[in-house]
Symmetry: C2
C-alpha cells in the first residue's frame, strides 16, 4: 500500500488534544459527532484515500493535466476518483446541513483533509478550492446565491476557484486591475486576466464557479476598491440548470515543478464582450470576504504540508526497512543490515516523524478552536477561541509547510541515489511540497500577519497568553518523574523563554522601527510554530504516559517522538531568538547597490 | 547576463584567507602563480563560463541527454562548449605540467571550478569526473598508464568516469560484485553491471576512460578484495590511437529530478565475452586508490554546492530588484516598491549570500591547505596541512551541499509563484542541487568520516586544534572596537564552545557507545561546517575593516555579510549541540516495529 492513513494518531489528537468530547457536549450541533462517529468517518475516509486516490498520485506526475484549444484534460483516473469522492459526500463533510452538507466539526474534517492531501495533493487541490468558494458564499453570498451555488458545489457536480492573482498583483492585491462594469440588469461585465488559478479549467465537473476579485469602474484605488464576483464557467438558469458558456476562458496552463496534475490556469475574462458576473455582498468589500476564504484555505494549505510530510515519511520508512547496506556501527550484526539500523537514518526518520506529528497535533488543536469559535454557545468562549485560532492560522500554514520542505528533502535523502530517480517517487514529494510555502500567501505574508495583526496590534498580549498556557503544561511536566518528561520540560521552558523574548522585541519595535520587527518576521513565525508544535507534543506525552496501559506500543512511540522533538527540534528556537533580537540591523545593513 | 562570476570575492579569499602569496613564496612550483596570474586566470575563466557555458544551463534542462541504441546524445551545444573548454586548456589547469597540464595550485583551480559549476552543473560534471580519473591515475597508475591516458584526458579528447555503484552496492562498497578474470596477457576480463555512472556514455569526446571497481576472482570478501581497473570504451593501441570497441555498453540512462543534461548511465561490462581492463596499481587495493579520487571529487562536489548557491543567489537578487510589489513596511515609499525593499526578502537574500560566501571562504582555505600538503618543502608543514585538509573535506562536501539546499529553496521562495514555474529557472537550481547531498557519499557518509577517522581516531585532538586556531581569531576580534567585530566575536565564541562540547561528546562516546556518537554525526558535521565557514568570514571581516580604504563598497559588504552570518547562521550551533549532547538516546529509542 502506498499510503496508510494515520487514523490512530489522528484520533489520539482529536480525543486528547483537541478535546472532541468537550466540543460535542458544549455544542448541540456537534452532538452526533462523538469519538465513535469520528472513528467511523476517519476509517471510511482512509479507505477512499488509500485505495482510490493515493494510487493516482504518481500517475498525475507522469501524465499531468494538459491544455488543448481552451480545454483541460486531467490525468486519467482523476475524473472517476472525483466522482467517488463526491458520491461519498466528502465535499460536504464540514459544510452546513442546510445545503446538503454533513455539518461535521473541522476537528474531524481537517483530519480527513490531511488524508486526501497526503494521498494526492494535486487531486486534493480541487476540493480544497471548492471548500474556499463555499466558505466565501456562506459568509457573504445572498440567500439566493447560496441556494443556487452551494448545493451543486457540495454534491461535486460543480467546483470552485479563487481568482486573485494577476501578473502584476501577487502578494500585493492593491494592484488588481480586473475591471467590473455594472449592467442595467444588476449583473456586471468582467474584463481582465487572472493567473495561477488552481483548477481554473478541468473536466472533472459540469461547471466551475470562479470567485473573482475585480474593481468596479470608478471604485477607490488600492485594496479598498476591490469587489468579489461570482463568474461561473456556464451561466446558471433560474431553475439551476446550465445556460450559455460565459466569456471566461482558459488560455493556457503553467508548466510547473510540482503538483503537475493540478491545472494552474491563466484565465481570460471578457475577451468576447465581457464575462457575466454577480456581485457577492457589497461593492468594495471583496478583499474582506476573500480573506475569510483565504483563512480557511491557509489552514488547508498547512494541512497539505502535514499530509505530504507524512506521505514522504511513510515512503522513507518503507525504503529504510527494505534496503540493505553496510554494517551497524555498534557491531550488533556481523553483516550488512537494513539501513533503518543506522543511527543517522533513524535520526532522519525521527526528524520527519516528529515534525509531522508535531504539526498534526498543532493543526488538530487549532481546528477545535475554530469549531468553538464558530459554534460555542458562550460569546466569551467564542471570542477567546477565535483569537487563539487567528494566532494559529499563520503557524499552521507557515510552519507546517516550511517543515514539509525539510521532511520531503530528508525523504529523498533516506533513499540515497534512488531518491533522485523520478520513478522512485520520493522526488515528487520534494517537488510538490515547494509550492506550499508560496501559495495562499508566502511564509513571509503569514509572518507579516503574525507580527502585525496577531502580535503587535495588542502589544503581544495574546502571544503572552499562549505562553502562559504553555507554562501550565510545564507545571504538569514538572510533577512527573520520567526522564522523558524532564527532557521535554527543559526544552519547552527554554523555547517558551525564547518566544517571550521575541514577542517583547516584536511588540516593542513594530511601530518605532518596523524594519527591525519585520526583519525577524519569518524567524518569529518559525519560533512560534516550533514552540506550539512542541507544546502539543508535550501535552501528548503527558496523556501517553498516563494511558500507557491502554495501548503500550502506540503510547511509547508517542513519548519517544515527543522527546525527540524536544531534544532535536525545539532547541532551534535559540538561534531564531538571536536572529530576531540581535540580528535585525544586519538584515538591512548591506546597501542595495552591493547586492 | 545570466551568470556573473564572483571574481572579486574569489580573489579576496585567495589573497587574504588562502594566502596565495605565502604559497607561491614557499613552493617553487607555484612561483608563477602569484596574484596577478590568479586574476588573469579567473578573468579568462569568467569569460568562458559566463558567455559560453552558462547560457546552456536551462537548455540542458529542457533538452536533456537522451539514449538511443546504446548511444547518448548530449544537449545541443554541449559538444561545442566542451571543445571550447578543452581548447582553452582548462581540463589541465590543476594537473602536472609533465602531462600537458598547467600545474596551477588548487587554490586557483577550485575558484575556476566554482565558476564552471555555477555556470552549468550538468555540463561541469564531465570535467569533474575526468579530474577524478586523472587523480587516480596520478596516484596509482604505472608510468605507462599515465603516459597513455593522462594527456588525452587533459586535452579533452577523452573523458573519465568513476564506476563504483552497483544496484546492491551504493554507500556500501563491500557489496561490489563486478568480477575481474585475469588473462594470460596480463589484462583482465571484466563482467558486471554498474549504475549511476555520470557521463558513462556521451558524444562529447572520442573515448571514455572508465575506472572500474571489481573483484579479481578469488579475492577476499568485503572491501579488502576490491581492485581498480582501467576499462576504456575504445581500446588503446600502443601508439595511443584508438582500437576496437570494448565490451562496455550503456544500456540505459536515468530519468532524474535534476542535472538532467548529465547522462547517468547504467553500464554493462562483459555481456559479449568480457570487457578488457588493465589493473591499476596492485590487486585488492582498489578502494584505497578510489578514496584518493573520491576525496578530490568530494571537495569538488562541495564546490558544486557553492556554485549553484551563488547562481541561485544572483537570480534571486535580479528578480528582487525588478519585481514591484507592496509598500515598504517603514512607509519610506508611498507606493509599491521593488521587493528587495521588504525586510524578509532582504533576510532571504542575505541568508543566501552569507551561506555562499562563508562556504566559499571555507573551501578556499581548504584548497590552500591541499596545496601546502602536497607541495610544501617542509615535511611537518605538509603533515599539518594534510590533517587540516582531511578535516575540511567532509565539511566542504557536507556543509556546502546542505547549505545549497537551503539557498536554492530560498531562491525559489524569493520568486514567489513565479519560482514554481519551470521557465523562470529558479526551480532548476532547487532540483539540481538535491543530488549534491547524495552523490560522492551522502552527508551521513561524510559525517561518519568526520566522526570516525577525523575526530574520534585521535581523541578529538585535531578538532580541538582547529578550535584553538579559531580562538586566535577571537583574540584578534577582541582587540577591535567596531560593533560588527563585537557581534561576530560573541557568536563565534559561542559556536566554538558548542563545537568543543560536541567534540568532547563524540570523542568520548565513539568507542564506548558508537550508536550515541553516530546519532549526532550529521548534526556534528553541520555544527563544524557552520563554525568553520563563520570563522573564515570572521577572518574576512578583520581584513575588510583594515582594508576599508582600498575598496570601500566591497569591504563594507564583506563586513555586513560576515556580521549577518554571525547573527543569523552561527547561532544554529546551539541546537546542534543540544541534539548531539542531549539527544542521542531519543534517536534510537523508538522501536523498529513502531515505525
Amino acid at each position: 500500500m502506498s499510503y496508510q492513513a494515520p487514523v490512530k494518531d489522528m484520533l489520539f489528537n482529536i480525543q486528547h488534544l483537541a478535546g472532541l468530547e468537550t466540543l460535542t457536549q458544549q455544542i448541540p450541533a456537534f452532538a452526533d459527532f462523538g469519538l465513535d462517529t469520528a472513528g467511523a468517518v476517519l476509517e471510511e475516509c482512509a479507505k477512499l484515500t488509500q485505495d482510490v486516490i493515493a494510487p493516482l498520485n504518481w500517475e498525475g506526475d507522469k501524465n499531468p493535466s494538459f491544455w488543448k484549444d481552451g480545454q483541460v484534460t486531467t490525468t486519467p483516473g482523476f475524473k472517476e476518483a472525483f466522482r467517488a469522492y463526491a458520491e461519498g459526500g466528502w465535499q460536504g463533510l464540514q459544510h452546513p446541513t442546510d445545503f446538503g452538507g454533513q455539518g461535521a466539526p473541522k476537528t474531524i474534517a481537517a483530519a480527513c483533509n490531511e488524508m486526501l492531501q497526503a494521498a494526492n495533493m494535486s487531486f486534493a487541490l480541487c476540493p480544497l478550492l471548492t471548500d474556499g468558494a463555499v466558505e466565501a458564499l456562506l459568509t457573504a453570498g445572498s440567500p439566493e446565491q447560496q441556494a443556487t451555488f452551494i448545493p451543486p458545489l457540495l454534491e461535486g457536480r460543480w467546483t470552485g476557484t479563487m481568482n486573485l492573482t494577476e501578473p502584476q498583483a501577487g502578494s500585493d492585491l492593491a494592484l488588481v486591475r480586473t475591471r467590473a462594469e455594472p449592467q442595467p440588469d444588476g449583473t456586471y461585465k468582467i474584463f481582465g486576466t487572472k493567473i495561477f488559478i488552481t483548477y481554473g479549467e478541468h473536466d472533472m465537473a459540469e461547471n466551475i464557479v470562479h470567485l473573482v476579485l475585480a474593481r468596479v469602474v470608478g471604485a477607490p484605488e488600492g485594496v479598498k476598491g476591490i469587489s468579489l464576483f461570482i463568474v461561473p464557467k456556464f451561466l446558471v438558469n433560474a431553475d439551476g440548470s446550465l445556460g450559455a458558456r460565459n466569456d471566461a476562458h482558459c488560455v493556457s496552463i503553467e508548466h510547473k515543478m510540482g503538483i503537475k496534475a493540478s491545472p494552474t490556469a491563466v484565465l481570460q475574462f471578457g475577451d468576447h464582450g465581457g464575462a457575466i458576473g454577480q456581485l457577492i455582498g457589497e461593492e468594495n468589500r471583496g478583499l474582506e470576504y476573500m480573506f475569510i476564504m483565504m483563512n480557511a484555505a491557509r489552514y488547508g494549505v498547512g494541512v497539505q504540508g502535514i499530509g505530504i510530510a507524512d506521505r514522504a515519511y511513510q515512503k522513507a520508512v518503507a525504503y529504510a526497512k527494505d534496503r540493505v547496506q553496510s554494517r551497524p556501527v555498534d557491531g550488533s550484526k556481523p553483516g550488512s543490515a537494513t539501513i533503518i539500523h543506522h543511527p543517522d537514518v533513524r535520526r532522519m526518520l525521527m526528524t520527519m516523524r516528529a515534525l509531522t506529528e508535531g504539526c498534526r497535533a498543532m493543526a488538530s488543536t487549532a481546528a477545535a478552536a475554530f469549531d468553538a469559535a464558530h459554534h460555542h454557545p458562550d460569546a466569551d468562549a467564542r471570542k477567546q477561541n477565535q483569537a487563539f485560532y487567528d494566532f494559529m492560522v499563520p503557524l499552521v500554514k507557515g510552519y507546517s509547510t516550511e517543515m514539509s520542505l525539510e521532511v520531503t528533502s530528508l525523504g529523498v535523502q533516506v533513499h540515497g541515489g534512488m531518491g533522485f530517480i523520478e520513478e522512485t517517487g520520493a522526488a515528487q514529494y520534494y517537488r510538490d511540497a515547494k509550492i506550499l510555502t508560496i501559495y495562499e500567501g508566502t511564509t513571509a505574508i503569514q509572518a507579516n500577519d503574525l507580527v502585525g495583526r496577531k502580535t503587535a496590534r495588542d502589544g503581544g498580549q495574546l502571544a503572552r497568553g499562549i505562553a502562559g498556557q504553555i507554562e501550565v503544561t510545564e507545571g504538569q511536566l514538572a510533577q512527573r518523574d520520567s526522564a522523558a518528561a524532564r527532557a521535554v520540560l527543559k526544552a519547552l521552558r527554554a523555547a517558551r523563554e525564547d518566544f517571550l523574548a521575541a514577542v517583547d522585541y516584536i511588540a516593542g519595535s513594530a511601530k518605532a522601527n518596523p524594519n527591525a520587527a519585520y526583519a525577524g518576521s519569518v524567524p518569529y513565525l518559525m519560533l512560534a510554530g516550533n514552540l506550539v508544535a512542541g507544546w502539543q507534543l508535550a501535552r501528548a506525552l503527558i496523556v501517553a504516559e498516563d494511558a500507557l496501559a491502554t495501548d503500550k506500543p502506540f503510547m511509547q512511540a508517542k513519548i519517544a517522538t515527543a522527546r525527540f522533538y524536544a531534544e532535536h527540534i525545539l532547541p532551534r528556537t535559540g538561534a531564531l531568538r538571536s536572529a530576531i533580537v540581535d540580528g535585525a540591523d544586519s538584515v538591512t545593513e548591506l546597501s542595495l547597490e552591493a547586492f
